[in-house]
């Protein structure tokens, strides 16, 4: 287990109202499966998936959070370390869409300034129950300068694409930083970090 299996580690966070399908999105992405039998997330949950982008193995550490207000103190403590955040709403639930603004404010308050964001309108397979048009989703994303996609964990629409795009955006940023004069130092730092944690494992 000590062998280093990835080049970069990205920490991602899923937030949004309760019941919009955060856990299902993550489950589809990590296990490529869908189930309606999920219990509600209490506190914070956690999954890992390694993807390959531009020849780099990227380990995604994804945190799934509880939607209800009560858990915000627990979950916002993790905003700080996140490099990418997915804001999820449910296209058949108006309120969850209206609350996107609230979630964005939360990010402003608790996350790093340069965190990559993406808005997901989930459950897009349920077109007969849609109350939030795609245009409105696009509009709010444009207004805040954020990426947007409609997804369905159930029908497996855009799930992988969403995670890949978010990861790629983070990679762009990392690469952008590396292209400056710190290029080598940054890379070495990362390797060192990874190797320290490796030697710990052998204790």
């Amino acid at each position: 287990m000590a062998k280093k299996t990835y080049d970069l580690l990205f920490k991602l966070l899923l937030i949004g109202d309760s019941g919009v399908g955060k856990t299902c999105i993550l489950f589809r992405f990590s296990d490529d499966a869908f189930t309606t039998t999920f219990i509600s997330t209490i506190g914070i949950d956690f999954k890992i998936k390694t993807v390959e982008l531009r020849g780099k193995k990227i380990k995604l550490q994804i945190w799934d959070t509880a939607g209800q207000e009560r858990f915000h103190t627990i979950t916002t403590s993790y905003y700080r370390g996140a490099m990418g955040i997915m804001l999820v709403y449910d296209i058949s639930n108006e309120k969850s869409f209206e609350n996107i603004v609230k979630w964005l404010r939360n990010i402003d308050e608790h996350a790093n300034q340069d965190v990559e964001k993406m808005i997901l309108g989930n459950k897009c397979d349920m077109d007969d129950k849609r109350t939030v048009s795609k245009e409105r989703g696009e509009a709010i994303a444009r207004e805040h300068g954020i990426r947007f996609m409609e997804t369905s964990a159930k029908a497996n629409i855009n799930i992988e694409r969403a995670f890949n795009e978010l990861a790629e955006a983070i990679l762009d940023k990392t690469a952008g930083r590396e292209s400056g004069d710190h290029i080598d130092r940054v890379m070495v730092d990362r390797r060192q970090q990874a190797s320290t944690s490796r030697s710990c494992c052998n204790n």
């Binding site: 287990m1 219990i39 209490i42 956690f46 999954k47 209800q68 944690s197 494992c201």
Partner: protein, 387 residues
Amino acid sequence: MAYKARLREFDNILNKDIIDLEDLKKLAFTGIPDDQGKRAICWRLLLNYLPTEKSSWSTYLKTKRDLYRQFIDEMIVTPGAKEVDGDVEDHPLSMNPDSEWQTFFKDNEVLLQIDKDVRRLCPDISFFQQPTEFPCSVVVNSMDVKRLHRRVERRVLKSANVERKGMGMTKIALSFKKANEDYAPMDEGQEAHWEVVERILFLYAKLNPGQSYVQGMNEILGPIYYTFASDPDATYREWAEADSFFCFTNLMSEIRDFFIKTLDETQCGINSMMTRMLVQLKNSDLDVWLRFQQLELRPQYYSFRWITLLLSQEFPLPDVLRIWDSLFSDEKRFNFLIYICCAMIVILRNQLLNGDFPLNLKLLQNFPPMDVQIILSKAVELSKKGF
């Protein structure tokens, strides 16, 4: 044989005119037999619902159950009745804070959250999707009007369904689709167990506006209701709803601080429980504690859920029931919970000492299946070391 002897021991305690709660706690701490509705009756006692004098039980239970019925009438049945009367003072757009309609809409926000959660309660067993033998008749025979989930059902008007027929006649067909087929509501005259649970939580939220409903409360009520509603004694089973409500209320009075954000930092709040657990871990297994420090594996990431839900999401239901026997018998509730949490970690020590952050967190958040007795014995062992 040993099992029969054990049942007899319970009978000896429960058959007395005045039940010795201390004796019962001692015995129940090591597990209550699944048979003969023993658990249901013991939990009623351990959760301070039933008084210890047996002679007072029938009057006491009747009073409580009548009271519960009254709650249903006042908070679920009557508000809608006004609407039928055509009250002119009050209307859906009323801005009056005393308006029943205002209350109705505010309640629905809470109800919406409850509704989402009760439909995903214990999905691995079919129990909650089954019809109850004892539905609440005013609710199930109301042409669906009094069913709580009807109030928060999302409906969409489809323009495509508007048909024009000849002489300016317009026919509009509405289509309602049920959201979650597995947890589909029952026909008139019937209701599923999850609907009963929804009603209990709604009444609790109405009666305790300071807490209202917080996600996870369903996981606390679930095992209690399951135990009462599967009591082989029909004279008790019939009242599972009312009795669960009061036992749940009593239990919540002890653990509600875990659910209240503003109390997080107080002595009985969740943070202090997690700190206590961490201190106990340090005393029980310094190596693991150090490893967690090194990895910055904070207790919020795993033990928040363990403690808030009294471990109900970590184990299969039968194991949860067994664990709760001990928790409810704990002289100093919920000290033993801390020991169980520590035991769960200590038992996995070899894996945890070798794992990195993600591996360890995955392990702790998805506790591997094992005989719950191993965990409980370890917890007792840790508690006897008496740190």
